[in-house]
């Protein structure tokens, strides 16, 4: 109970006004109090006072949260709900242990070249047996009802060759900077490495075009956000430490990522989770200060500009990833990239910063609820009339593709830099 005792004041700060009911994606989807931040805080409060135990019902509701942070940003009393929910999950993991599947994944994400790499490479070869291509070409549809997958679910195909294994990327691991050009270390993260290597290559291209030297530190591992969300603080800390060392070694001017979640993981989680040791904290802060989302890097650091309009303009709407808009305060930059692309007209959807439904491990914990949220998002995208929904996070892209496919919305999903 130590973790939660440290948060006693934070928990007590919730006065149960219910303002969070209006902003929470799960409250929007289910409408009931048990799926509201106020309800979850009340549950954690009761658990921390031993009024309820670590029961199935308690864990079910605790795991319904996407950790999107909308309640925290809108709480009149400034309650750090994310800290409360994440600590409660960590507390549960410490008592109950990490679920086997998650534990395997996290242990292997710690070592990109190791077991996970091998396992995933094998899976990459075998996926044709289990999945067929979707007609829309956005992903794979499961041929059978698979455990953890279910039938009719659109899952992203594993890359034939992972980003970090691409020969041209390997060649970039030790590039010396040309004089005067900023040296940018590209942090791919798991989404780009395993699922969207082409997005990684595109990122490198754009960074180079913008006048910087890009290279890819090969020893990078998962940013730790998925492990943190599940409550596996140990795994998340080990990942943070490994990345800290690798990124220090990289000695770059900037560390760029095209993943909103990784950006938040490196800017904030790495520092928070290592702050138990002052020396590590100082080092993490130094590395974190160099981290930039790709839109932030292009606009604020490299003064990126593109040429004039090229051909027909398409209607593009933008989905704010929670880890970019709310967590990093970057709302205008990705929109600027869309406007800069020259072939897009930005048209806002209703509630662009509503979570896509994937976050906080919800897609894994409660796929049905995750899709209930995706339904709201899909409807907003449809009503915007956009042909393309652009965003800035591979995780959101996976979820949006699945949601749009499921609810029959034809808009294409792209990363903002893919518009350039």
């Amino acid at each position: 109970m130590k973790r939660l005792e440290l948060l006693r004041d934070e928990i007590d700060k919730c006065v149960r006004c219910g303002t969070c009911r209006a902003t929470c994606p799960t409250t929007k989807a289910l409408g009931i109090e048990t799926a509201s931040p106020r309800g979850r805080v009340s549950l954690v409060d009761a658990y921390s006072k031993n009024e309820i135990g670590l029961t199935e019902v308690y864990l079910k509701h605790l795991k319904e949260c996407t950790l999107c942070g909308a309640c925290r940003s809108n709480c009149p009393n400034g309650v750090d709900t994310i800290a409360i929910f994440a600590s409660a999950r960590a507390e549960a993991i410490e008592k109950n242990g990490v679920p086997l599947a998650a534990s395997l994944v996290f242990r292997n994400l710690l070592d990109t070249g190791g077991l996970m790499g091998l396992g995933l490479k094998l899976a990459s070869k075998l996926q044709g047996l289990l999945f067929k291509d979707s007609s829309a070409g956005m992903g794979l549809l499961s041929r059978f009802s698979l455990p953890l997958v279910g039938s009719g679910r659109l899952v992203p195909p594993l890359a034939k060759t992972f980003f970090l294994d691409l020969p041209e990327v390997k060649a970039l691991s030790g590039v010396e900077s040309k004089s005067g050009r900023p040296k940018v270390a590209f942090y791919s993260g798991c989404g780009i490495n395993y699922l969207m290597p082409e997005l990684g290559s595109k990122s490198i291209d754009v960074i180079k075009k913008a006048g910087a030297d890009a290279f890819v530190p090969q020893g990078q591992v998962c940013c730790g956000m998925p492990a943190y969300a599940m409550g596996d603080i140990k795994a998340a800390r080990a990942m943070a430490l490994k990345n800290l060392e690798e990124l220090e070694r990289a000695d770059a001017d900037f560390i760029a990522t095209s993943c909103a979640t990784c950006g938040h993981g490196l800017k904030r989680l790495m520092v928070d989770i290592l702050s138990d040791e002052p020396e590590l904290k100082a080092r993490a802060e130094k590395v974190a200060s160099k981290v930039r989302d790709i839109s932030e890097l292009l606009i604020h650091e490299l003064g990126f500009k593109t040429g004039s309009s090229s051909g027909q303009k398409r209607i593009v709407t933008y989905h704010d990833p929670c880890h970019l808009g709310r967590a990093q305060g970057l709302r205008e930059e990705p929109r600027d990239i869309i406007k800069m692309s020259g072939n897009a007209t930005l048209k806002e959807m209703k509630n662009p910063c509503l979570c896509c439904g994937l976050g906080g491990g919800l897609m894994y914990n409660n796929y049905e609820l995750s899709m209930d949220i995706a339904r709201i998002k899909a409807e907003n995208i449809k009503n915007s009339g956009a042909e393309i929904v652009a965003t800035a996070c591979p995780g959101c892209m996976v979820q949006l593709r699945d949601g749009l496919h499921r609810f029959g919305v034809s808009a294409q999903v792209k990363h903002v830099i893919e518009l350039l």
């Binding site: 006004c17 109090e33 009340s42 009761a46 009149p76």
Partner: protein, 471 residues
């Protein structure tokens, strides 16, 4: 405690997935915005009046309390299950059944969130004015039960002014339709008005027929700053006297201003007091009224007067305004939150009196609210751990009520009595008035099973009302 027979019956009536007895889930239905916790014995999510009727009939025969609940955002404890029992949550009855653009009527289920209804009718050029600060989460059913008001009350009135008719399940289980779906109607007693504001003690609303208005062409939002709260109060009276009827005339004192700016960070200026004023209507009238308001404010000591530039600025201002109440906890961990009303011409006297009370009891009093209709949210801030401060806060509240009643006001404008104000009921109402209300309650709810322990302080001692409580 509910018997196993009752539990089985509840599951049969509402369906397995629409009833919960687990302590974890009951905990989530044990509180409202008063932050008091009372655990119910069950929570049920009905889908229609017939289910509720069966539950109420069983409550009468088996003797357990039934407590209707919307979003649980009330400030007076109206939805608290103070004696346990079965909470009827309307979170799954939230359909807008009809928007009749020819007769300007909406028919809704009680679980509809007020904001969602407003958005839906505004798309059709219509307007549902009642706007409690909780409008983005509170429900029409809860608004009806408490007769919620809001900033627009000054021009448009409160919830009661928009309820034409209701479908109600009486405490004994009969389903009745009250009121009309026409502009007029005087057949029989006005049961609609009796139910509106009855805090869920006389019947459970299952459907509401609401009056709509045409959406005003334009709204202009303005801010006036003052060095002193008294000047702002004087300006308020002067605006009314100038025969301008703003759609909103809100006052915010310096403490509230500071707390909410800390939260919303929208660039609210530091000032002794602020007035947030809106005028709405057709373009010409709005222009004329806005000019009149500006003139009156500046004549009455406004140090600055601004007009919101765009809809984002308006949105920010309202986000801030609606968050004041909860953001006040930034200065002290606890507060007594009252919503007194005085005649509009006496706002200055009220402000003066509050200052004296604050000094006398050495407690911080933050005031804000609907100055335009005389309804001020007075928040006495304290720390429960400090026993003498807590006692002072309580004494200050009694004195505030005396002051309010002395000025010709009422102790609650829009929150209701619930549990929070019941001990003060006798300060405002005569015994004869209270007795007549109790007779109405006893006639409709002879066994006292519907939302017991609310409004009337002596309910437990009254045999006519204590049927369920004795169990």
């Amino acid at each position: 405690m509910l018997s196993n027979t009752v539990k089985t019956e509840l599951k049969r009536i509402a369906g397995e997935g629409n009833v919960s007895f687990s302590k974890e889930e009951l905990l989530c239905y044990s509180y409202d915005a008063t932050n008091k916790l009372h655990l119910p014995d069950a929570v049920v999510f009905p889908s229609g009046p017939e289910e509720i009727s069966l539950i109420l009939k069983m409550a009468n025969s088996e003797g357990f309390p039934v407590i209707p609940r919307g979003a649980g955002t009330g400030f007076s404890g109206g939805s608290l299950p103070v004696n346990g029992g079965v909470v009827i949550s309307f979170e799954k009855m939230k359909r807008i059944l009809e928007i009749d653009t020819e007769n300007l009527i909406a028919v809704v289920e009680p679980g509809v969130v007020t904001w969602d209804l407003q958005q839906s009718v505004e798309k059709l050029g219509l307007f549902y004015p009642p706007d409690p600060s909780s409008l983005k989460m509170s429900t029409i059913g809860g608004n009806i039960a408490e007769c919620a008001g809001g900033p627009r009350a000054i021009k448009y009135g409160v919830t009661r002014d928009y309820v034409l008719g209701l479908e109600v399940v009486l405490p004994t289980g009969e389903i009745v339709n009250t009121g009309v779906r026409t502009a007029k109607g005087v057949v029989g007693y006005d049961l609609t008005r009796l139910i509106v504001g009855s805090e869920g003690t006389l019947g459970i609303v299952t459907k509401a027929i609401l009056k709509l208005l045409p959406l005003p062409e334009v709204t202009r939002t303005m801010l006036a700053l003052f060095d002193d709260l008294k000047d702002a109060a004087r300006a308020t009276a002067a605006i009314i006297k100038a025969k301008v009827v703003p759609s909103t005339l809100e006052i915010v004192d310096s403490t509230s201003l500071r707390c909410v700016e800390e939260y919303a960070n929208v660039g609210l200026p530091k000032a002794g007091a602020l007035l947030l004023i809106e005028v709405d209507g057709n373009v010409d009238a709005v222009k004329k009224e806005a000019e009149a308001v500006a003139g009156v404010c500046l004549d009455n000591g406004a140090t600055d007067f601004r007009t919101a530039r765009d809809k984002h600025e308006v949105k920010d201002l309202w986000k801030a305004r609606r968050a004041i109440s909860a953001s006040l906890y930034r200065v002290k961990p606890h507060k007594i939150n009252e919503d007194i009303v005085v005649p509009r011409s006496r706002i200055s006297d009220l402000v003066e009196g509050l200052k004296i009370i604050s000094e006398k009891y050495n407690v911080l009093i933050a005031s804000f609210g609907h100055a335009g209709d005389g309804n001020i949210h007075v928040n006495v801030m304290y720390d429960r751990k400090d026993a003498s401060e807590a006692a002072n806060a309580n004494d200050a509240v009694v004195e505030i009520f005396k002051l309010t009643l002395g000025l010709g006001g009422t102790i609650s404008g829009e929150h209701g009595v619930g549990t929070a104000k019941m001990k003060y009921l006798e300060m405002e109402l005569t015994q004869a008035a209270i007795d007549s209300m109790k007779k109405i309650k006893a006639a409709l709810d002879p066994k006292g099973i519907l939302n017991p322990g609310k409004i009337f302080p002596a309910a437990e001692k009254d045999p006519a009302l204590s049927g369920a409580l004795a169990n």
